[in-house]
């Protein structure tokens, strides 16, 4: 898997490169629009991480050019701009995902994985299983150790997200976006409330610890 990182902040770029390399991705990092332009023209990538504020212009311009020229690599925008509208503008121009700075490396990895999974059109999973949990996505059914458990729609979507990313820390930003399709608002602790309820429901039946709270990051399905 080859990933292009377009980021002009040297240290941030280093972190991203290191994290991706640790996950055994092949990474190329460039720091300007011109270099990114050349890199994409030279060879195809499986995903592109694109910073918007580049020294020689706006990353959105680059994205627009790529989409116009038929380069359809999945693009994840990594940006220090973060108003709702900037996000909408990026997605409208053809970005596949948008991650605001400051970000968590775990979240960047989770999003890239989901981007590439979507692109590669990997076999659609219909049943997710882990530690005695069995989530049937078609029948919309959960069984814990064979016992059916009732879930509300939100709880189902939340568990589905966790079961699609087992063993990985999911940030509240990501959870809000995937389950609520809304930006994360720190003022309310709705996500914590839902995770707690889901936890209590599952642990009450399964008697096991399914989730781990990652302080300062989010939650993880063990």
């Amino acid at each position: 898997m080859k990933i292009l990182v377009v980021e002009d902040e040297r240290k941030v770029g280093q972190f991203v490169v290191q994290a991706l390399t640790e996950q055994s991705y092949t990474v190329r990092k460039v720091g300007t629009m011109a270099a990114a332009h050349d890199a994409v023209a030279e060879s195809p990538y499986d995903a592109i991480v694109l910073d918007l504020g580049l020294p020689d212009g706006d990353g959105l311009q680059l994205l627009k050019e790529w989409r116009q020229n038929g380069f359809d690599e999945p693009v994840l925008i990594l940006s220090a701009r973060d108003s709702v509208t900037d996000r909408v503008e990026g997605l409208n121009l053809g970005a596949d995902d948008y991650l605001p700075k400051p970000f968590s490396v775990d979240e960047l990895l989770a999003r890239l994985r989901s981007l590439m999974r979507r692109r590669s059109g990997s076999v659609q999973v219909t049943v997710l299983e882990r530690h005695g949990l069995r989530l049937d996505l078609l029948a919309r059914e959960l069984k814990v150790n064979g016992e059916p458990v009732e879930l509300t729609n939100r709880e189902f979507a939340l568990l589905e997200l966790f079961m699609l990313n087992p063993g990985r820390a999911l940030t509240r930003t990501l959870i809000a976006e995937k389950v609520w399709e809304a930006p994360y608002d720190m003022e309310t602790n709705l996500i914590d409330v839902y995770v707690r309820r889901l936890r209590q429901k599952l642990e009450g039946i399964g008697g096991e610890n399914y989730f781990k709270t990652m302080r300062g990051t989010g939650y993880k399905l063990l």
């Binding site: 972190f15 220090a80 108003s83 939100r154 809304a182 409330v193 302080r215 300062g216």
Partner: protein
């Protein structure tokens, strides 16, 4: 603008009508004077005729006087009332049409006068004081009055028609003269935070309007520059603050993952991560508020159908409140769209609910009413907490204002921008928000009025 059109029209119509009225009034006065002058001229001629008939000898008998005058007087009986006395004041002749009435002697007073004769009405009387005879001739003014009455009737009609026409003309006139101003206002109205590039077209010529247009365009140039600077500043501030924050976060994460075996260090690094999130949120909120304040925020407005929009969130609201050990009384009434940004309105809803939760005593009740009135949706959120001192009610939506609600409150403290953001969002939606203490019991009531989209 409309009132200016109206005022110009009204003034124009008033002036034209008053002018027409004044001209016709003067005309009437002149007509009346002309008619009376005509009568007086006739009187002079008739006096001369009578004087000739009477001759110079005042000693002739009354019968002789009657004899000399009778023929002529009878011929003009329709026109004149005649009375003649001698220099001693003795009446020597009275025409039959005078009846019993004796014309007053005007000698020494004036030559002509208007008086009322019983049974005849108003008359114009002229007196000529010759050496031998004082001849008084009076004519009825009734025909004059009839002519004047007709004149007034016609004049009033003319004034009325003039008034109507002048209102019409005034309207057209003011519309035409104010058209460039309307065009200016229209363009100026279209120039907003999202459309600062538009300029008012400068009309040809070198008049006051051209000067005004130029001035306005220059002002818009300056505003556009200022907006651009604010946009640039918030973008720069955003970048300059978040890039180091990103690095801090990445480093803290790295440390955190390596310190997992050491509880104290893991705790400390987790706290750093949490504080970074707080700081991030504060930066976001401040940038939002500064953009909203300066009008540079671009909103992706969409039409949200109420109450369907709420259905997606009411379940979450229920869960949120129940998790706090409280009960949510939800009441939704009415139907009608709201033009707004879904994510922002949702943020308001949950911020207000979270706020009510923080205020509430354990096992209390929170009531959320969302009711449509004719022009707006009113959200009313009530808690059973202690409420607020009256003086604080208006300050509660200010920035960085925080209240210690319940001493037992252990959850994450807010940074005091949540309600300020709520107000800002509501105002961006042309709505209003205010807080008051409940009257039925202690507790705070927060009321949001959101206009119903008028276009649908």
């Amino acid at each position: 603008m409309n009132t200016l059109t109206f005022r110009t029209t009204a003034w124009f119509a008033l002036l034209v009508t008053v002018t027409i009225g004044a001209v016709l009034g003067v005309g009437g006065w002149l007509l009346n004077r002309q008619m009376i002058a005509g009568l007086e001229l006739l009187h002079v001629v008739e006096t001369k005729e009578l004087a000739e008939l009477l001759g110079d000898d005042p000693a002739i008998s009354d019968a002789e006087v009657r004899d000399r005058l009778e023929h002529d007087v009878d011929d003009d009986a329709e026109l004149f009332l005649i009375q003649i006395h001698d220099t001693n004041g003795r009446i020597r002749f009275r025409s039959a049409n005078l009846g019993d009435y004796i014309l007053p002697d005007l000698s020494g007073v004036d030559l002509h006068r208007t008086i009322t004769v019983p049974g005849t009405g108003l008359v114009r009387i002229s007196e000529s004081n010759g050496t031998n005879w004082h001849i008084q001739i009076a004519s009825r003014l009734e025909p004059n009055q009839r002519v004047l009455k007709e004149y007034i009737k016609i004049a009033s009609l003319l004034v009325l028609v003039g008034a109507l026409i002048s209102v019409g003309l005034g309207w057209v006139f003011s519309r035409v003269t104010l058209a460039p101003i309307r065009a200016i206002a229209e363009t100026a109205g279209r120039i907003g935070g999202n459309n600062l590039g538009a300029r008012i077209e400068v009309p040809p010529g070198r008049d006051e309007l051209v000067a005004l247009t130029r001035l306005l365009n220059e002002a818009f140039d300056r505003i556009e520059t200022a907006f651009g600077q604010v946009r640039q500043f918030t973008a720069d501030a955003s970048h300059e603050l978040k890039t180091p924050l990103a690095l801090i976060r990445l480093n803290a994460e790295k440390l955190h993952s390596r310190l997992e075996h050491d509880d104290e260090s893991a705790n400390a690094s987790a706290e750093i991560l949490e504080e970074i999130d707080q700081l991030h949120q504060i930066i976001e909120h401040l940038l939002f508020l500064s953009k909203a304040d300066s009008g540079v925020l671009r909103l992706e407005l969409e039409t949200l159908s109420f109450p369907e929009w709420l259905d997606a969130w009411s379940g979450d609201a229920q869960v949120l409140v129940e998790d706090g050990g409280l009960r949510l009384d939800l009441q939704i009434e009415g139907q009608g769209p709201v033009c707004g940004v879904s994510s922002l309105l949702r943020q308001v809803l949950f911020n207000l609910l979270t706020n009510a939760l923080k205020f509430s005593p354990p096992a209390g009740r929170i009531s959320l009413q969302i009711v449509r009135s004719s022009e707006s949706w009113r959200w009313t959120i009530e808690d059973e907490g202690p409420g607020l001192p009256e003086a604080e009610l208006t300050r509660v939506f200010d920035r960085f204002v925080r209240y210690e609600r319940c001493e037992s409150e252990a959850s994450r403290p807010g940074h005091g921008l949540g309600l300020a953001i709520c107000r800002s969002i509501i105002e961006l939606h042309q709505g209003k928000v205010f807080a008051e203490n409940r009257k039925d019991r202690t507790g705070l009531r927060v009321v949001v009025d959101l206009p119903v989209d008028p276009e649908t």
